[in-house]
């Protein structure tokens, strides 16, 4: 649906040259909710602006819905843009207009007739649950309502792609959640492919099925959300994953470990998807000479599946412990030894 290939983009600011994007390639399939995460200045906005060509790449290809955007005329480009909805962090609504008028603008630009505008605006306002506020002015709305208007405006032309540039960054956690649920509904019920940008891992965790991690203009990691969350490779990714999934040993427990006189190892186990059902822990409990102590555990729902993390203290002689680890590995559970006494 959206294919970016080897995109390079730099901005020259007087003397300094900022390489905003370096050899970036991503591929968003139809029906995806594709998340791009990165810290401020990583180049996320620049990347998303490539998709509707608000920004022109220095080199590389941009293909949207089978159409190459690289050398379109201004008029052709306007036509393509009308099929791509975009939602902004700052909403970017017209203060001088009502909710209805704001949502109607994209249709007015297309010179749609009055009847169709009224009907369609009513439909989308109903979808975002704002019909009762249709005559309110933007300043009379809450942040969450403003973003719903922004989303309605983006959807009014029935686009096949929706771009979201930090659509929830200006909202409180509860409102964020309701907006994310709305995006999910848009994806499911309208079949709209969504490409979103965020710096909050919760957003990715809650609604995305694929993710790309950006750092200093490069995509350092990409893949399915489950894959990236269970096996983060790059340091930034690990940092991001850690913001939503606690896989470290709690400090109070670390202190308890100091007083442990016996020989022990601490292992971190990740059960992903169907692994969750395997009785690995009970099996290692049955090994003679191994005592198992659960130091911590978390369960995360990801892409409609689950990931469980257990932090186990295995107490016993080294050869016994090796046997236990072998059992875990055999079951295909991801294992990582974090402490050796």
């Amino acid at each position: 649906m959206i294919r970016l290939e080897n995109i390079n983009k730099s901005f020259s600011d007087r003397r300094k040259v900022v390489k905003a994007l370096q050899d970036v390639s991503i591929h968003v399939e139809k029906g995806d909710i594709y998340g791009i995460i990165g810290f401020s200045g990583a180049g996320k906005s620049t990347l998303i602006r490539m998709v509707n060509r608000l920004e022109k790449p220095n080199s590389g290809r941009v293909v949207v819905d089978g159409q190459e955007l690289t050398d379109l005329t201004a008029a052709q480009l306007r036509k393509v843009r009308r099929k791509i909805g975009i939602v902004f962090q700052q909403f970017n609504l017209l203060e001088s207009k009502t909710v209805f008028q704001n949502v109607a603008i994209p249709l007015i630009l297309e010179r749609a007739d009055k009847e169709r505008i009224t009907k369609r605006v009513h439909e989308v306002l109903q979808f975002v649950e704002l019909e009762d506020r249709r005559d309110a002015y933007v300043s009379q709305l809450s942040g969450g309502q403003k973003q719903r208007v922004g989303i309605a405006r983006a959807l009014v032309t029935a686009p096949s792609i929706l771009l979201c540039d930090e659509a929830t960054s200006a909202l409180d956690p509860k409102t964020t959640e309701s907006i994310l649920q709305l995006l999910k509904r848009i994806n499911r019920e309208m079949g709209v492919t969504i490409l979103l940008i965020t710096h909050q891992m919760q957003v990715i965790q809650m609604i995305c099925n694929r993710v790309a991690v950006m750092e200093e203009g490069r995509v350092v990691e990409q893949g399915s959300v489950m894959g990236v969350f269970s096996r983060p490779q790059a340091t930034v990714t690990q940092e991001f994953v850690r913001t939503v999934i606690r896989d470290q040993i709690p400090e109070s427990i670390t202190e308890l470990l100091y007083s442990e006189r016996r020989n022990y190892w601490v292992d971190r186990l990740k059960f992903v998807g169907s692994n969750v059902k395997k009785p690995v822990i009970s099996e290692i409990c049955h090994i003679d000479g191994v005592e198992v102590n659960i130091l911590g555990a978390t369960v995360q729902e990801l892409e409609n599946s689950v990931m469980c993390i257990f932090i186990l203290q295995l107490i016993g002689e080294d050869d016994r412990l090796e046997e236990a680890e072998a059992k875990i590995d055999q079951a295909g559970v991801l294992r990582e030894r974090v402490v050796t006494s």
Binding site: V80, R81, I86, F88, N92, L94, S96, P106
Partner: protein
């Protein structure tokens, strides 16, 4: 009727008063309208052609910017005399209220342009980005995004402009345009008719007050949704 028009107030006929008042309204009204249109166009050029604008064009920007600075640095009375050839070329004469419109528009439009440029620059860049992302053409960006978002400030700029025009029209009037200025100077000052002078001053003060109040009201109406 006839009698009423010939009635004397402060030693001038009511007919005279009405005629000169009408001339002032005509000069201020017409030049305000034309000046706003020309000024808005110049403001648009400044905003769209500036660095990072929608249709960046350094040369056009510099030309308009320079023109505005030049005209704004010339006192009106000097401008009035300097552009007389232009006035004659356009209006066929340099005398009368109609001829006074030329210098008044030339004088007020750069002033309004500056005021409106500021209002246009206050429109958040995000709005323009949203407009472009929706596939709006440049004309549509102006028509559906820039104009509605700045209408309130434009009214305020027009109010300020009207008050400036009132002053300028008095000078233009003295140089053959008629109007309240002519009344106060020719019939009041030169004939040492102090009551008439005071009368025109009072009228002018009231007029400015009314204009300012009306301008603020309308502007607030347009902007209260912000």
């Amino acid at each position: 009727m006839e009698e009423f028009l010939e009635m004397k107030i402060f030693k001038v006929s009511v007919e005279r008063l009405l005629l000169n008042g009408g001339q002032t309204l005509y000069m201020v009204g017409c030049s305000l309208l034309a000046g706003t249109i020309v000024g808005f166009l110049m403001a648009l050029v400044l905003v769209l052609c500036r660095k990072g604008g929608l249709t960046e064009n350094r040369i056009l920007y510099q030309v308009v910017n320079f023109y505005i600075n030049v005209v704004r640095s010339i006192p009106f009375i000097i401008l009035l005399v300097t552009i007389m050839p232009l006035t004659r070329a356009i209006m066929g004469t340099t005398i009368g209220s109609r001829a006074a419109l030329v210098p008044l528009v030339v004088y007020i439009s750069p002033y309004l342009a500056r005021l409106m440029e500021n209002s246009l620059l206050e429109v958040p860049p995000g709005i323009l980005e949203a407009a472009q992302a929706m596939g709006a053409s440049n004309w549509q960006v102006i028509r559906y995004f820039l104009v509605p978002e700045t209408l309130g400030s434009v009214v305020l700029a027009m109010t300020t402009g009207t008050i400036g025009l009132l002053g300028a029209s008095a000078m233009a009037g003295y140089c053959g345009g008629g109007g309240i200025g002519d009344l106060a100077l020719t019939y009041g000052y030169e004939k040492m008719n102090t009551p008439l002078m005071v009368f025109t001053v009072v009228i002018l003060v009231l007029l400015v007050q009314l204009l300012q109040i009306a301008g603020n009201r309308i502007s607030r109406k347009l902007r209260e949704h912000r």
